[in-house]
Structures are given as C-alpha cells and as structure tokens.
Amino acid sequence: MPAPPDTQAATSLSLEAVAVGALEDVSLNLAPGEITCLSGPSGSGKSRLLRAIADLEPHEGDIRLGEQPQATLSGHAWRRAVMLVPADSQWWAEDVGAHFDHDCQAGLEALGLCPETLGWQVARLSSGEKQRLALLRALSRRPRALLLDEPTANLDHATTLRCETWLGERARQYGMPVLWVAHDPEQIKRVAKHHVRITGSRLETTPWT
C-alpha cells in the first residue's frame, strides 16, 4: 500500500527567466510530487542549471520554492530544502554511517542494498552502491524539492528500475517536485510526467509522441 501523501510540505518549484552560463531565459514550473526530466547534449549546461537552482552558482532570474524566493533563505537553508544529488557523489568520513543523521533501513532495502552497508568503509563501496547511497543520504534529510543529475548512470537495468520506482514513490509521498537529468529515452518515458530539453541556449518543452 502506498504511503499517504504528505500534502502539508508539498510545494512547487518555479524558475523564471533564469540565466546561467550559455543558458538564457529558462522558465519552468515544477509541480509537487511530479518528475520532470531534463535532457540535452553534453556540455549544454544541464548540470550548471541544476547548480544554479541549488544556488551553488551565481545566476540571474527568479527561483521560488512555493511562494518563497531563493534570496530570502540563507544559502544552506535553501540547499537543505532544494537538494541537489550530483552525478559524482563525494564522501568525507571513513565509514558510510557517519554520513547519515537519520535512520534509513527501509530505504536500504528498497534500493537493493544490504542492511549492514552503513557499517562499511567508504573505500570498499562500488560506484553503483555509492550512487544509491547518495540518493538515500539526500532523501533522508527530507528535502522539499529534489534535483537529480543522472541518478542511475552506474546501475544495471534491474537496479535502475528499483531506483526509479523508489524515487517516484518518495516524490509522491512527500509532494516533492523533482528535476531529473536523464539521457535514456526509455527511462524518460518511464519516470517523467514532463520532459524538457536544452537546445542551444533555450529550454524547450518536448511534447509526448
């Protein structure tokens, strides 16, 4: 049985006339609980756009979480709410568990990780395990919006499907708007409610065919 949606925290994430790097005039409205996929050629500025939304990069334009403009929150408070999971996750402590402040046994199981993983050394993790743990680490902090940069790049097909299901469920459960950078058209079909594509310096909405 799916968990009931947590509607109280549900907020949309909206971008208006955002400009960063070569990208100009990006306007986008991400509804709570829905996944929007972002695609585009390598080097077109997908990751930079996500960094701008997380306010890790200077940018122009107006970004709001619900009614709250980015600038009214401090940098870290904004990023705690609008969380970016990078393609290449970084780990600073020796053991995995030190990176988690909340209990997340259920998530480990859902992502196909063994329950003892939290006691392991970071050095022995595979790239696929790191990627799933990075998702879990971010989600365990209960962000209100999620930015994912190729979250399943290092995973086999079965695990990719698991992750997609789990992420979709979490998005609906917590009412999180999700912006998901993806290349695989099959994956975009499976997870996305909307699809936007970077062409040149613009963002285009792709109609479903």
């Binding site: 306010d55 890790l56 940098g75 870290h76 970084q90 600073w92």
Partner: protein, 267 residues
C-alpha cells in the same frame, strides 16, 4: 664575564661549512645548492644591515623610529606570508589577511608584554621592543603562512567534497570544518613542538644568547619561558584569525564555495 669577540675570519670558517654542504648537494644533484647559498648570503647581508640599523635606533630611542622599524618588519613579514603560498587569494587578499592578522596578534601581544609584564622605561625602549616583536613576528609569520597555505591547498583539492556537503544543506562552516581544523593544526604544530622539546632536546636560541652574554641561567630561563608563552599566544591568535578570515573569503554571501578567488599555482 665578557662576551668573547668574534672576528670576520671566524665567521668565514663557519661559512665554509655551508659552502661545503652546497657543494655536496650540487654534486649529488639534489637541487638545493643554489637556494642554500642564496639564503646564506641573504642572512649575512640582512643581519649585517640590521645590526647597523639597530645601533642607530638604540642610540636615538625615539618613538617614531621604533614605530617605523616595527611597521617595516610587519610589511616584510606580510610579503613573506604571501610568497610562501602556492595558491593565493586573488586581489591582494592574501597579503591583506596575512598582514592584518599578524599586526593584530603580534603587536597587541608585544605591547601587552612591554607595558604590563616586563615594564621597561619608556615602554618602547628599542632594546626590548624590537627583539620581542621580531621573535613574535617571525613565529607568527610561520604559523600564519603554513595555515593559510594548507587551507587554500586543501580547499582546492577537496572542492568537490566541500560542494557536496553544501548540497546536502550544511552551513559553510561545517562544510569546510575538516579543512579548517587541518590548517589550524599545521599552523600551530611547530610552536607546540618547540614548547614540548624546549630544554630537553633543544636549548632555545634566546636563552642560549643570554647565557653567552653573561646572564644568570635562572634569569635567562625566566625570559625564555615568557618568550615561549607570548610566542604561542601570538602565533595562535594570529593563525586563528588568518584561518577564519581566509575561509570566510572562500565563500560568498550565498555560502557558495568560490575557488575562483584562488589564483592558479605559481611555478
């Protein structure tokens, strides 16, 4: 007991040992021969000149001359802190932070020591003020430059880790916490080590000098303990301020990591 006078030819004998060392390292292709000789020449020239300056200064003992000397020492130390860094903060911030933190810690500790603890009349008597300030500045300079160099180098190296911590919503102080601790440690370790080894392994230079000059060892020891403590305080507070200011400068108002404020490494 009078001090035994040293002649220039006696110094020449000591210099021969350095030349012999430089020759050996050059033959072994270890690449320190040249810098070794240059530094040795600098030592001889700089100390000879400062001897002349100090003689003039002691003879006049006017406040403005003492103050001018102190400012000159500070600026040279600030330049030295800057050149010892592989990755500097751009826009003169490395020189600024280094000089300001050394000024705040070394000058206040020296003035406090002169007015409250030692109490020469007048308090700026150059025979006390200049050597004390020199020892403080020299040690603070080492601490500040080691800490700033370690901080900027590690921030550059660990920029992805720091950014990932920011992405998880950590405040900038927490995201850079490990790097800051490491930098503070490398700035303070030489001072802590020299206090721990004092008297057991090494006889500190100032105490040795006083004993050679005829002071009673008990008094020389008291001065040495005083100097060790004020050096520790001066180095510690200077390093603390430099680490705080440098790490703050590496983040902007939105708590973004700004590695673009670091210059590319020289050389």
């Amino acid at each position: 007991m009078d001090v035994i006078a040293l002649d220039w030819w006696q110094l020449g004998l000591a210099a021969l040992m350095v030349v012999a060392l430089a020759a050996c390292t050059t033959l072994a292709r270890l690449g320190v021969g040249r810098p070794l000789l240059i530094a040795a020449v600098r030592t001889a020239v700089q100390l000879t000149l400062i001897g002349l300056v100090l003689e003039a200064l002691f003879a006049s003992a006017r406040f403005q001359w003492v103050a001018m000397m102190a400012v000159a020492m500070l600026l040279i130390a600030g330049r030295e802190v800057m050149t010892r860094q592989r990755r500097r903060l751009t826009g003169g911030w490395s020189f600024g932070i280094g000089t300001l933190t050394m000024f705040l810690s070394s000058f206040s500790v020296t003035i406090l020591t002169l007015t409250v603890i030692v109490g020469p009349q007048p308090w700026y008597t150059p025979q006390y003020a200049i050597p004390l300030l020199g020892m403080l500045l020299g040690n603070t300079m080492t601490g500040v430059s080691l800490a700033m160099d370690r901080l900027t180098a590690n921030v550059w190296q660990q920029r992805s880790v720091i950014e990932n911590r920011l992405m998880l919503g950590q405040p900038w102080q927490e995201a850079i916490g490990d790097v800051r601790r490491e930098a503070m440690r490398s700035g303070m370790i030489p001072t802590i080590n020299s206090m721990a080894a004092a008297g057991v392994v090494s006889l500190p230079g100032m105490m040795t000098g006083q004993i050679l000059a005829g002071s009673a060892p008990a008094l020389a020891v008291k001065y040495q303990i005083l100097v060790m403590f004020i050096i520790t305080a001066g180095t510690g507070f200077g390093t603390l301020a430099a680490v705080a200011a440098t790490s703050r400068r590496l983040f902007d108002q939105r708590e973004r990591l700004r590695v673009d404020r670091l210059s590319p490494p020289k050389g």
